[in-house]
């Protein structure tokens, strides 16, 4: 695995290539990740989520600058949605990260969701590991700005930051929709706008309501990302939270939970691949079954059961080889 060796030697080019390899599920990807895995575990992973336009990219840029000032290296993964109709994507987060885009110790990668829901792309967690193995101290993940369903970030990041802005109208609604639970730190960005203080109060109230005894009370921080205000406090809080996680043993718990989820996903995905190719190879057969099922000549349960059996056979056959 030349690329892995080169990544270990610090080649940016190899890192970028490996991400592509993994993202495209090309041959050699899994083998590479097997080699990468033992090298991971040193980076601290920050997730930033929130509604569209809240300032996630700008915050990412400023947090990175602050971390760089403290001599930490940073990797950034910025995720934007893939169009379900065309499969294409416009990845525009980099525009707001101009301040750090030419810093040698910052690596920015834009990724499209490629059909995965939950605010991340399927290859995000592997990309995190690659950046980790490469030696980045901090990895920041900016999720898709969907504002409701970004539960995935909690499982992928060590700390989840929820960014909102005043005057969005739907800001508080988005929070009510249940993502309140995911924030370890709340950021009210665009505090230069009217209504920031009110929003802070509202969030604090909701936090007060929603939680039973918490060991960590999520702080609510006001920032003006464009003017670099509040960023140092935010980074301090990130570090404070990290200390809390380490001391309470929760960091280890979270990471264990993360790998548990990842394993399950890997298995699901592997099985799904068998299913996908099985259906692909037997299109006519499945079409016919479908017809029969619709006409009540057959039942769907039987088909499902038989399909699983066939997959199982294929898997065991492959395992024997």
């Amino acid at each position: 695995m030349e690329l892995v060796d080169e990544v270990r030697k610090g080649s940016v080019r190899a890192l970028a290539k490996l991400i592509t390899l993994v993202e495209n599920e090309m041959p050699g990807g899994i083998e590479a990740m097997e080699k990468i895995y033992p090298l991971t575990g040193n980076a601290y992973i920050i997730g930033i989520t929130g509604p569209p336009g809240a300032g996630k990219s700008t915050l990412t840029d400023r947090i990175t600058k602050e971390l760089r000032r403290q001599n930490h290296t940073v990797g950034i993964i910025a995720i934007d949605p893939t169009s379900p109709f065309t499969g294409g994507a416009l990845l525009g987060d980099r525009v707001r990260m101009q301040g750090v885009s030419s810093d040698e110790d910052v690596f920015i990668r834009s990724m499209a969701t490629r059909g995965s829901l939950g605010g991340l792309s399927r290859a995000t967690s592997d990309t995190v590991k690659l950046l980790d193995a490469y030696g980045k101290d901090y990895i920041i993940i900016e999720t898709v700005g969907v504002g409701q369903d970004e539960v995935d970030i909690v499982r992928t990041a060590d700390v989840s930051i929820l960014a909102v802005m005043p005057g969005g109208g739907d800001d508080i609604q988005a929070i009510k929709a249940g993502i309140m639970e995911i924030g370890d730190i709340f950021v009210v960005n665009k505090a230069d706008r009217d209504g920031a203080d009110r929003l802070v109060t509202e969030i604090k109230m909701m936090l007060g309501l929603s939680s039973t005894e918490r060991e960590w009370t999520p702080p609510v921080i006001k920032t003006i990302a464009t003017e670099d205000q509040g960023i140092d406090t935010l980074v301090e809080k990130i570090k404070e939270h990290r200390e809390f996680l380490v001391k309470s043993g929760m960091l280890a718990c979270r990471r264990k939970e993360r790998i548990r989820c990842e394993i399950i996903k890997m298995i699901e995905h592997e099985i799904y691949r068998y299913l996908d190719s099985l259906i692909g190879e037997n299109k006519d057969f499945f079409e016919q079954r479908l017809e029969d099922i619709v006409n009540k000549k057959e039942d769907p349960y039987l088909l499902a059961k038989k399909t699983v059996e066939t997959i199982a056979k294929r898997i065991s056959k492959n395992a024997n080889v």
Partner: protein, 134 residues
């Protein structure tokens, strides 16, 4: 469900010129043809563009210049790409570039220049064909 290799394109506007209508229209058209398009905004330095190409591992770079500064910007970008070992990226140009200057740019390794009035389908086809060969 093997992900087929998605084409990744960097659409960039080097130099000081801020007229990005063409770049944006093209970025959208490429997206609608199923490509992943990284757009970095206006007023990009050659260094920024090449760094982005490196980190994003793009297959193609599309440079749009209307200000007449192509004579400086293209050579600089091509030089940096080679320096960073990115000589294999398909580099295309668009905007207002006089025909007279095209041979010189091609000598530098720019694959093709698409002038005003070019249809986005022509560009899409060109990218697809040239990448599948490569």
């Amino acid at each position: 469900m093997n992900q087929d290799k998605r084409i990744r394109v960097l659409v960039a506007k080097p130099g000081l010129d801020g007229h990005d209508r063409g770049a944006k229209v093209i970025a959208r058209a490429l997206r609608d043809s199923g490509m992943e398009v990284i757009y970095t905004g206006i007023r990009q330095t050659p260094e920024q563009i090449v760094d982005a190409a490196l980190q994003e591992d793009v297959d193609t770079i599309l440079l749009s210049i209307l200000s007449g500064a192509h004579g400086f910007l293209f050579p600089r970008i091509m030089e940096l790409l080679k320096e960073k070992g990115l000589g294999d990226i398909l580099v295309l140009g668009g905007g207002i570039i006089p025909e007279d200057d095209v041979p010189e740019l091609k000598k530098l390794g720019v694959s093709e220049i698409f002038g005003p009035g070019m249809s986005s389908q022509t560009l899409i086809n060109y990218i697809r064909e040239n990448l599948s060969q490569g």
